[in-house]
């Protein structure tokens, strides 16, 4: 094992489920993914996109149909060789959605269980459990039962148990989806601190993009069993690779149109008129259908007509004060725009306004075939 071995290496992994009426669903469709030590990769996607199946394949709880998985340089699954190491012999920890703490065992017994299974002696187990408890700052809970402790404490116990199993790689299956928003934010920060401090590699499944943004060193956007894009949170937010990623990450306004060029330069013909774009920003040739995606916070809204060329008149249909910013729904003819803008007093409903955006903030994608 050299130091250059990736912590996790998934190669063209595939897994289908048989549904009723003979239809097969490709839950994981030839996915490849590589993680280094200390990586925090979040699999982000809508429910049913295959992210949990992918995670469970890594854990060994689900049998893939084909492909290869190796952990820390050791192959644990290889369809070509017919090799499949069962989960109890893969050296990885896992934190479950419900935490799955055994209700009939104390906190200490829960954390010590993986050590006992690994054949550690009683004294060694006790010592390591004590260290874990200290590290998680829950020493006083050692003899409590899971039903007696709070959600936050349960998360720490679950994480401690996962770490007791393998402190190189931990899998997380939507562990924060059962707690309310306030606690969730706190637990998220705590988990982040633990991971950066202990340095384990984490593969984390969620459908909550705020959670993904705040935790990940890299986000993998999953849809229909495929990783559409993998990159830092900034990359997937600022430069989404395709329309799917752009629409799934953050809120997005979509303007459909056709690429045209009448000699003065490339532009897109939209219901709002002709919008000039740089040649390099266009994904396809003249005559093809494209969608222009823009973020609500990149738009500016004003009562007076701005000097900029790219500005459209509209009418405020809905307006809400959210604290940090105001949220508007504006009708530009048939087109509807979502706009976020700071301001102490939101504009009233029915206001005649002007909306503007810089051409740099419009990203063009080839339209979905479905659209």
């Amino acid at each position: 094992m050299t130091a250059a071995q990736p912590q996790l290496d998934i190669e063209v992994l595939a897994k289908s489920f048989h549904r009723n009426k003979g239809r097969d669903v490709r839950a994981v469709d030839n996915v490849s993914l590589r993680m280094e030590k200390g990586d925090f990769v979040v699999l982000l996607g809508p429910s049913g996109c295959g992210k949990t199946t992918l995670l469970r394949c890594v854990a060994g709880l689900e049998s893939p149909d084909s492909g290869r998985i190796s952990l820390g340089g050791e192959t644990v699954y290889d369809s070509a060789l017919g090799l499949e190491i069962p989960p109890e012999r893969r050296n990885i920890g896992m934190v479950f959605q419900s935490y799955a703490l055994w209700p009939h065992m104390t906190v200490a017994a829960n954390i010590g269980y993986p050590l006992k299974m690994a054949g550690a002696g009683r004294a060694e187990t006790d010592a390591r459990v004590k260290r874990m408890l200290d590290m998680m700052r829950i020493s006083e809970l050692a003899n409590q039962y899971p039903g007696q402790i709070s959600g936050g404490q349960q998360q720490r116990v679950a994480l401690a148990r996962a770490l007791a199993r393998g402190d190189d790689m931990i899998l997380f299956d939507e562990p924060l989806s059962n707690v309310d928003a306030k606690v969730r934010e706190h637990l998220r920060l705590e988990l982040l601190a633990m991971q950066r401090e202990l340095g384990f590699a984490a593969l984390y499944v969620t459908h909550d993009q705020e959670e993904a943004m705040s935790l990940a060193t890299r986000i993998a956007v999953v849809a229909d069993g495929v990783i559409h894009q993998i990159g830092t949170p900034q990359e997937v937010y600022r430069t989404p690779r395709n329309l799917k990623v752009a629409k799934f990450i953050g809120s997005a306004n979509q303007l459909d149109g056709t690429v045209v060029n009448d000699g003065t330069g490339p532009a897109v013909e939209t219901p709002l008129g002709r919008i000039a774009l740089k040649e390099a920003a266009l994904p396809s040739a003249v005559g093809s259908r494209v969608s222009l995606i823009s973020r609500p916070e990149r738009w500016r809204i004003s009562m007076d007509r701005p000097h900029a060329a790219a500005a459209w008149p509209g009418k405020v249909r809905a307006s809400a004060f959210l604290g940090p910013y105001n949220q508007y729904l504006v009708d530009l003819g048939e087109t509807e725009l979502q706009i976020w803008q700071q301001g102490s007093h939101p504009l009233p409903i029915g206001s005649e306004v002007w909306c503007q955006i810089s051409a740099d903030d419009l990203t063009a994608f080839v339209s979905d075939s479905a659209a």
């Binding site: 469970r56 854990a59 060994g60 709880l61 689900e62 069962p86 989960p87 109890e88 012999r89 990885i92 920890g93 896992m94 479950f96 959605q97 419900s98 799955a100 703490l101 055994w102 209700p103 009939h104 269980y113 993986p114 299974m117 690994a118 039962y145 039903g147 148990r161 996962a162 007791a164 199993r165 899998l171 299956d173």
Partner: protein
Amino acid sequence: MSRAIASARRAPDGFLVISAAISVFVAALIIYPLGWVIFDVLFADWRFDSAPFVALSQESGLGALLLNTIIAIGAASAVALVIGSTFAWLSERTDVGMPFLGKMLPVIPLLIPPIAGAIGWVLLAAPRAGFLNSWLSSLASLVGFGQVGPLLNIFSWPGLIFVYVIYLTPHVYLSVAAGLRNLDPSLEEAARMSGARPLTILRDVTLPAVAPAVVSGGVLALITGFALFSVPVIVGGQGGIEVLSVRIVHSMIASYPPKTGVALLLGMAIVVLIGSSWMLQRAILRAGRFATIGGRGMRSAKVKLGAWRWPARIVMTSYLLISSVLPLAALAIVSVQPFWTANISFQHLTFKHYAALFSSNSFASTGLRNSVLLGVAGATLGMLIAAVISFYIARNRGSRLAGLIDAATKLPAAVSHLVIGIAFISAFAGAPFHLHGTLAILLMAYLVLYIPQASLTASAALAQVGKELVEASLIAGASTASTFMRVTLPLMMSGLTAGWTMLFVLTAGDITASAMLAGNRNPVAGFVILDLWTNGSFPPLAAFAMILTALLSTVVIVTMAWTWRRL
């Protein structure tokens, strides 16, 4: 708006009055005979009467009777607990992959009534003419062991326990499988991710977590076993092993005048046995901590059995063989023989026993017709009443009357069918009702006997109907009655259908109450079977059991297919 609803609620509501009346009537039908029999037997002429105790002390072999009952049912329940739990684990948590068997196992007692199975096993393993004995001895002489005596004897302790086990296993299976299905599978997956091997997980996590389901499965087996009359009357009688349930029924029907006092006191012994089983369950459950996390229908990683997969499949299949295929085959063969013999000769096959059954107005065909009639009437009335009662209880939660009615509908499950049979005879057979041997007393008894199962399914079905759906209907201006008829009842329908099926099968195939309450003028299926058994006329008995089994399983399969398709 809210004031309008409040005032509407205060006004007397015809439907609630009617449902209260029905609930009170049913509660009275349960409580009155029980109260009456206790009063009549123990407090004749307003004074405590010791005569029944004297009569009981003159009964022969009471100690042996009690010991027999406890040994037979205790041993059978223990074996059923092991087998049923193993089957439940195999089909819920491993890749044994026999979903059909998993669905069939719990309904086997409904498909093949225990009495038919018990008779089938007599035909298979009776010492002289049993098919298996005959085949085994031919096999023995074929391979050169020479002439051997009968190898199997169903009329023995192992034979009795064996047949009990067949019919108690599904109860355990049902309970444990439900426990496993509701157990969050990530508890077990977490153990796998901690490096534990499948059998270690079973010991460390699964069993402790589903212990309540295992314990209640065992207690269910005990309770069912104590009250079971059909198996011991067929198998134990010939083997000279008498258990409580058989002695109770015989005290009521085999002597004139019926020894009601003795029967009632022995019935009380069964109530005590059932009560102690419950206390045992509570004591065990209080001692530990258990997972109560409701499952969310998550898929779980199946334990791979590897080389053990085929042995497991063979064992599960042989249970199906032993519990249903073999006894049914034996019944089918004997039903077309002129007389029961292990030498099957194809020239002499005859359908005359079936023809006799269908000839008009024979004793047997009347019994069958009556049972179908009572089954349809009892199941329909029973489910309707249970639906109304569950609705009434849900609407009046917290009221003392609703609590009393709720408790009354659970009472028949606690006091055993035998005691209720005794109570109905002593309360309704003579003056002032004079209902002895009528279909009316049978219908009332069946309603009371199976009201616990009926109201359990009805309230489960009602719980599925969201409270908001009912409230929305009330707010839309519908009366309580039309809300019940148009919203609640249609939404409960699939649950009620399942309950109807169960009630029909239990009523039409009932032995215990039928033995005590039916008469020669109005025979029912269970009465006919016991009559044919006592006369020793095996081919007609087999033909009758075949027809009854075919009838009951057709009803179960048709409604199951109907509900599965709707799922």
